[in-house]
Amino acid sequence: MHADQRCVLTGTHFINGDAACCEGALSAGARFAAGYPITPSTEIVERFSARAPQVGGLFIQMEDELASSIALQGMVWAGQKSFTVTSGPGYSLMMEHIGYAAITETPCVFVDVQRGGPSTGLPTLPAQGDMMQARWGSHGDYLTIALTPNSPQECYSLTIKAFNLAEQFRVPVMFMMDECVGHMTEKVVIPKAEEIEIYPRRLASKPPGEFNLFEAGEDLVPEMAHAGEGYKVYVTGLTHDKRGYPVLNPKAQHELVTRQFEKIRRAADELTIVETEEIEGADVVVVSYGITSRVAQRAIQMARDKGLKVGKLRLICVWPFPEKLIRELAPKVKALVMPELNMGQMVLELERCAGGKCQVISVPHAGGTVHKPADILAAIERGAR
């Protein structure tokens, strides 16, 4: 199906990434959100609090991020699409409910506009230090999907993608922005509603009595029923059977956790969402994501001007990590260079997947600003030797 025209601000806009993310959520069909103010993410919900009532929705400012991250799931189980928005310290508080969304298979979106950390860190300055938290932050075993935009335009279009993936796989999706992308103002083109593809919620195809809320078919993703539809749903954070009833034994645990893993794992190819440029025949490929990819672009250009064969691989979907792609790429290049605004997080995945088949050069940065292109260039030159 396509987007509801009433929610889509079709046209060409000059807005920042936060505003674009808000419009993306509305285009995706989210009319409800819960949040708590935190820089540099607040502009998203400021805009949403003005826009949502115009389309019969609402934003509720909760008492903290613990409350926001579970209130949004109440909204989902009431039949709506919903999301929350935060930054590092708030994201830490939300971890419990990312786990709850994972085990209850609640389709929803968590937006994290990353800033410098740990703790209160650098509230108004950029970082990409929550990338591992997006994957491992909540306790126990679960898989999530995480997307990273590198422009306001992508803050719009990938927010829609995030909602679509959440519905397709019945998982919480992490939308990993950063302060630069959030506060950067650029041209954002919002297409016509009929050009926006929306993945509709997979609703129960069987009547109450025959339907099981956690019984999955071929693709391992169960259909959903909401409160108030007569299904008498049973949703619990405990390990549960296909009815949703708590079953606390190793067999039920194995079945539940492996299915929830497998539904994402088997979609690895579909979830390999990257942008590539001249990676065929390259000696060095720069792997980056988010705002860092735009600085890397400059460094790549500088290296090419020097006659080096450099390719670009931009991760748009960072989790699941594009493992197969890296495994195939590593033996063909001398080095993979990874700049990121943290002390080296995603580079650990890159090293694991490269498996020693090429050099992997990390270009860490503690955050607060972006890399100097010269630092990335130096790493490219080192890799090309």
């Binding site: 199906m1 396509h2 987007a3 509801d4 025209q5 009433r6 009319r31 409800f32 819960a34 009532p53 115009q54 389309v55 019969g56 929705g57 609402l58 509720i60 909760m62 008492e63 903290d64 613990l66 409350a67 926001s68 579970i70 209130a71 949004l72 799931q73 109440g74 909204m75 989902v76 189980w77 009431a78 039949g79 709506q80 919903s82 419990e96 409910h97 709850y100 016509k192 509603a193 009929e194 909401h226 409160a227 108030g228 539809e229 007569g230 299904y231 008498k232 749903v233 049973y234 949703v235 619990t236 954070g237 405990l238 009833y245 708590p246």
Partner: protein
């Protein structure tokens, strides 16, 4: 006709998930008794049970949602109220009840209770107060009275106990009551009354925990607790909530303390937003396929 053919149908059974019985609750526990009153109260209402949801947190009382044959949500520790808030706001047609314990609602979830009362969200909150963390094996709670013994207060508790009615009254709840699991009929009537009100309604119910609280404090069995509740309870409807603090061994003030009219969250929101709020009717099949609504 043999005696085995004679079956008395208990109407409460229809409200329970029969395939989940027996419950995890210990013999003598008061939680089940409160559920019986709740089920009776619910059956006497003119509300659509298929549009009634029950939300719990974690703990012994947190298991109530899972035994009710309603839309059941067993959430995380302390977070039943914010989940229920999202559920109610996104579908105002639902009747939403939060049913949980003292540790869950007033300690780890205390802030949510305060703000739900302040907002006057249209939820009925039932708090079973057994004065101890029972699910985890009998640790002291914010409600553990006086110098009571628990596994984490082996020399007796020394933190003052929380007075729930006073807290939620001060925060703005439109209805506040307290009973014990001895007062089954009064509790049913109060629940029935609360179910009809709009806004944040809070009912505290004292319940024995023979396995931990009673045993640790040599207070006898559940029957002894009932006798104790009967003796110590003083019914004081309309009593100032600052006079309802629970003193160890002292009077247990019970009754309906607060019953006031106050605009609930959604009503206030609609009034405040006025013309800025637009209804969002479902699109017809035709409109969906054409990608535009008929008015555009």
């Amino acid at each position: 006709m043999s005696t085995t053919d004679f079956v008395v149908h208990n109407p409460v059974e229809d409200l329970l998930r029969q395939d989940r019985v027996p419950t995890i609750w210990c013999p003598g526990c008061g939680i089940g008794t409160t559920v019986n009153s709740f089920a009776h109260a619910l059956l006497g209402q003119d509300i659509d049970l298929s549009k009634t949801a029950i939300v719990s947190g974690i703990g012994c009382s947190g298991r109530v949602s899972g035994y009710m044959n309603l839309d059941s949500f067993h959430t995380t520790h302390g977070r039943a109220i914010p989940f229920a808030t999202g559920l109610k706001l996104a579908n105002p047609e639902l009747t939403v009840i939060v049913y949980s314990g003292d540790g869950d609602l007033t300690s780890i979830g205390g802030n949510h209770l305060i703000h739900a009362a302040r907002r006057n969200i249209d939820l009925m909150v039932v708090c079973v107060n057994n004065m101890i963390y029972a699910m985890t094996g009998g640790q002291a709670a914010a409600t553990t009275p006086g110098s009571s013994m628990s596994t984490t207060t082996p020399y007796g508790a020394f933190e003052p106990e929380l007075n729930m009615p006073q807290l939620v009254d001060a925060a703005g709840a439109c209805f506040v009551a307290r009973w014990t699991s001895f007062h089954v009929m009064q509790l049913e009537r109060t629940m029935a009354k609360a179910l009809k009100k709009k806004g944040l309604r809070f009912i505290e119910i004292l319940s024995p925990c023979p396995t931990y609280f009673q045993r640790k404090n040599n207070l006898g069995d559940a029957l002894t607790a009932m006798v104790d509740y009967k003796k110590r309870s003083k019914i004081k409807h309309g009593c100032h909530t600052w006079e309802t603090a629970l003193e160890p061994g002292g009077d247990i003030i019970v009754g309906e303390f607060v019953d006031r009219e106050r605009e609930d969250y959604l009503t206030r929101m609609r009034r405040q937003l006025g013309s800025h709020y637009s209804e969002f009717p479902e699109q017809t099949e035709e409109e969906i396929s054409e990608g535009a609504c008929s008015e555009c």
